[in-house]
Subunit: 426 residues, 4 copies
């Protein structure tokens, strides 16, 4: 692959007509046209390897051919596409397959709610339900957590730039230290102290909401032990545990749910992004049956049911009929880890730290602005990769799960090269 | 069409696996399979006329063949489907066509924001921006208003059942009387009194948010004069005017924007539902250029860009290249109005009141529970129609705009019959 | 009395050492030294008639000799002065006398709470209790209402300047129109509409809080009929009725409680100001026994019990052993009303409106800035009188109840003269 | 002193007429009549030593004869008692003496605000001003902090029982760990981490509010180093530092301000309780001149000015013309510390911990319920002493500063005896 800096694309339509709020089109300044698997092509035919995967929405790759076939057939035969939350064949198929392939084999008993098609919808519904069921209002979230942009989801999100965007103070949430947030603080010992001290100023929470691996927050991994302790803390005090598996679920770290290895049983689980299978807007909220205390229509929305997503998602669930995808993800995760370790070993002066699990890994660079530079150089060389962390200090390696070894190695090679160049061109 | 009560459908999958929050599948208890134009068919092959239109998301009908063709082609050729807010050919085409067909001919200058794929996302983004730009926090909404289920959107929604679902008190919003809310109150004279009185307890608002016709609230129509007065109130006091055209825009009342006849120029416009063309999740926030003060990424989301929706929406915009759809909608609106008036004239004891404009009309019944009964009977006879209003006291006639006269008259005949039967079977 | 403008007082200590927040010392720029009854003297020996009465805290006049004797005796004999809420002889005497002289004869059953020594403390305690007892959070207050400066009390206060001082948005309160707030609005018909409409956006309130006569808000009088309707609205919906009688209670309008004539029975009554008898900080919250659901110490404070105030208040209650004070107040109120009416008749160009009842009356002037000018001129001529209303558009005639006819007429003559001069010196 | 359990007092007036919220009269179930210095007498003539001192309001003892003389003279001569915030001779004298005796010798430049007569008023005014000046809304408070019962003050108070009493969620405040809150957590390192991490979820605060020694929270002492670090954290980030010296100021720990030894200069200082000199309701807010950005009357109240308190406070300030009181307090503090240490050494099984400084010391008992038992026994033996801490686990030794050695030793002997008895009578 040659560098592609010499060709530029006319972005003026976007600059003229679209709001200033647009963001990724600034980091990846070209116009994309086609995509398949782990590859994207822009209007000039330039090919890009995708280590971004729609921020986690494309675990099965772009335009997955198995799913695509189903979508075209569904459209062709005029099956119902939009139906709010009426019953449809597509929805029934999805519910059954999700039960059969995901929940039943894991002995997980959950009712399925369709809260609207985004992760934020799922989080909003989870918070509402937790507050309704417990009659309490406070929710404990964690530092660096990211749960969405609507007012309820934003209140449990740590990022100050996003929070400030609310334009109003954010309430009913308390941000406690995440695992390893501060080297000298045992975060859960502190949390327990707060919960059990009648003088701490922390009102008894309805729920604790967490990501098991914080993607947007900078690829921070919670240990299994930490997750188990959080669950125990919740159980002992009748606090609900909400796991936001929007980005890190659907196999991103190996198993379908990110928390399977920890062996915990959240009360409410938020899913979106890759649950849509094909990058279609879709979200689920999984609810332990005894907590399913909603009145009909108490939370609603026009796109609760979206049959193309049902069709795509149902087909994508076929990947989970065996453990092959999980095994492959773990295997590729190891490749990435070795590769990143070897890259960082060469550049200790960038103060690098390899982080993550499975196919969500990355490097945090202590050197300010370095991560963004690496990503910009990588893009010029045909690799799409984003930063995360509140100072954009982490590069994120997050390819579609279905990437082959050739693509993976090629992408990693570009990354290696890009770090080298970034260092040279201070 | 014969009555179809004798056949029942097995709804057990939904009853067993889906959350209690499900709602429309309770009102329309069958499993739908196929749909085209203004018709739906269930798994038993029963045909239904659709006077519901996806709660306003299906103005161009189910599975509109022109749009369907474009979607299948797009999928077939592996154009990029999911791309967050990166630039794509599909997005560029949409932006240009929206500019050329909608904004430019109306001499409307607005920047286009993709806030996430739901109406609530658009409302949340509008509220955030209004607060950011003005530095104020209060937003004035109106009685019976409906703007969405996320915490910010819910705070400007009037319905107490939905509000209660929040589980936390809702802040930063004040609900003032809508046009004709109370016969003895000039709602805007009162609003002005509050705004101009330093002792009223109403903090100077960032914005006023309204629907020009409240669909969920019971088909309450604001007069053009009232809308013009609201705009003047805003202008005189530097308050932003947000029009939520999610349900009533995209031609529902005739013109593309519901407020065109009133001649007002909102500062921010929320669009969703039918803007997606094919019932695909999609939303826009239109912002006057000087107010487009977002920082890049200050509001974001995984499904901001959704290329199938761009493709469908772009094709749907072709309907707006001439004024044919507007004229037809007004003509059919008159048919409906005549028909509803004649129906209600026959049943004064149900205390009926015909309401609405264009293809969002309905009958409010004073008799408690009557509207729900009519809809249930209509469903049994092959007509899908929902109620609205906080006591479900209004039946809503809201077919796809592309319905033909045969379908329209057939549906109205079933409605007429259903009212008769409802009266007889107290 | 001659004008006293030629003498000025050195206010530099206050200007140098005291915060900019000071206010009355700006309107009445002299240093006061002595006071008795309805008269004050400054350090230069200038005498002032007091039509201000400590903003309602001095109903029994300055340094009332009967009360003074008791205070000096109490101090001399080393009875306990500060005792938090421990039991003391002084407190027991107060409780018994308040029961015997005030509650029992009126057949009012209330428990007495000492919430801290200010009206705002009483209002805060009333709001807390109403929320606790009902489990609801919203409180309905009224336009132009004034209830205090602490965050809870401020949230039910209408004045935007004071509200803005909070520095945070004020929550859990909704401001509805007061009696005669807007000529075309039947305020209670609108309130009922909001309360009974599930789509109004008004959450079912814990309580309605009101003043029967709004002193700070501009001397706005609620009719007896209006108060009775509010009570009925509350009773029908299980909403608590809180009457803030801090300024207008203790006989200011004739009867001890301002609402006696209306015949209503509030659930909670807030008293402060003149209940202290001698201008000492003191407040009560009266609670219907079944609502007295406080846990011990759930609301507390260092100055809940303040024995000098118990002593002063107990002695002041002797005034209420007969109906003489009530009769005299009504008689003097008529003198004031006639006098104000005759003054205003002479100056229709100032757009005057006589308002009020008993010994809280005033004139609202349509002419901007006129009221403040009148008060400034009156001060120069030996009369202390403040303005009220959110634009300071109302002059307030509010002498101690014990003023004699000579003082009253003298003060009114100065007022008459001051209006005349104010008109002449535009 | 003999035990006094055999005599009981008739508390029925209080039980019948006063609200259930009453508290201290339950712990000290007798009716007090007279008081002088560190002694109280009840109606039966029983004498009590006061180790409670009006919860810190009686540093100069009950009915201090020097102050009493001034009060009687002031009353006798009819000097003005109630004057809102008008200028009076008494107020001028206070302002000058406070400047001369307290501020000037310490080279402290502060404007004096009279925010209303309670500590909560002072805290409310401090929070308002900090928010106004910075334009931010969040305030950082600390675990176990106690700042008052009004809604603003309560939001920065840790005690969950008191917080719950609000009946509404408390906003705009974040409770961080106080010094030594958790043995494994360096509280300020964590706070800094939160403040400097854009992803922590802690919005940049307007102010940090703290007590240097938490009385109500259980006698928790912040080290000078910790206080200096807090000040540095504030200075580096332009956060205001508010010290609530309501209970622990006015010499309670030796110097007039509790933070003098730490050498910090708070931006705003809250004073109440003993600043009133004689147990009269009174409070000050001290404001650095550049922060005195109040508009006139932006915060007001009827009892801002209370001339008896000015008179008493002015006389009490004479104690501060020399350093005698400070020296004596430190000396007596050492006596207490030695005494408590020796008591606790005898009873290791009660898991005792001596805490505090100067004349605010105490013993925390690990054994549940033990502290309350000790206080109850002590009361029966003629010693008034309260518990603190959220589980009432700490006994508080807090006599008037003017106690003599005889009284101090006598009280400590009763305490010693009471611990012994409490242990024996499990």
């Amino acid at each position: 692959m040659t560098t592609i800096t010499e060709v530029t694309t006319d972005m003026s339509t976007f600059e003229t007509l679209e709001s200033e709020v647009r963001s990724y089109c600034r980091s990846f300044p070209t116009i994309f046209d086609k995509a398949r698997g782990y590859k994207l092509w822009d209007v000039q035919g330039r090919e890009f390897i995708d280590f971004f995967a729609g921020a986690g929405a494309l675990n099965y790759g772009h335009n997955n051919p198995r799913i695509k076939r189903k979508l075209i057939d569904y459209l062709t035969d005029d099956h119902v596409v939009h139906s709010l939350d009426m019953a449809t064949v597509a929805k029934e198929n999805f519910l059954k397959k999700f039960q059969d392939v995901i929940l039943a084999p894991r002995e997980m008993e959950y009712k399925v709610m369709f809260p609207g098609p985004t992760g934020a919808n799922s989080v909003e519904s989870a918070l509402k339900l937790a507050r309704k069921v417990t009659g309490r209002q406070t929710v404990v979230s964690f530092t660096k957590g990211f749960h969405g942009m609507t007012l309820g989801a934003l209140s449990v999100t740590g990022n100050s730039f996003k929070r400030h965007g609310a334009g109003v103070p954010l309430h009913h949430a308390v941000s406690m230290p995440y695992d390893n947030y501060h080297e000298d603080v045992d975060s859960l010992s502190l949390l327990e102290h707060y919960l059990d001290d009648e003088g701490s100023g922390l009102d008894m929470p309805a729920a604790i909401i967490l990501e098991t691996l914080q993607g947007e927050g900078g690829i921070n991994v919670a240990s299994n032990h930490w997750l188990q302790r959080v669950e125990a803390i919740c159980r002992q005090r009748d606090i609900l545990l909400i796991v936001d598996d929007v980005q890190v679920g659907c196999g991103r770290t190996g198993p379908f749910f990110s928390f399977e290895e920890a062996g915990i049983q959240p009360d409410i689980i938020c899913l979106s992004k890759s649950i849509g299978g094909y990058g279609l807007p879709f979200a689920l909220t999984l609810i332990k049956p005894k907590l399913d205390q909603w009145a009909p229509g108490e939370h609603n929305g026009t796109f609760r049911g979206h049959n193309l997503a049902f069709v795509a998602s149902t087909e994508a669930l076929s990947y989970w009929e065996t453990d092959e995808l999980t095994c492959e993800t773990l295997r590729k995760g190891e490749i990435i880890q070795r590769s990143l370790s070897s890259m960082t070993a060469k550049h200790p002066d960038t103060e690098p730290e390899v982080r993550g699990r499975g196919l969500m890994q990355g490097i945090a660079f202590g050197r300010k602005g370095f991560a963004e530079k690496v990503c910009a150089i990588a893009f010029e060389r045909g690799l799409i990769m984003e930063t995360s962390g509140s100072d954009s200090e982490v590069i994120k390696v997050m390819p579609p799960l279905i990437i082959d070894d050739e693509g993976l190695n090629k992408g990693l090679a570009i990354l290696d090269e890009s770090i080298q160049i970034a260092k040279e061109t201070r």
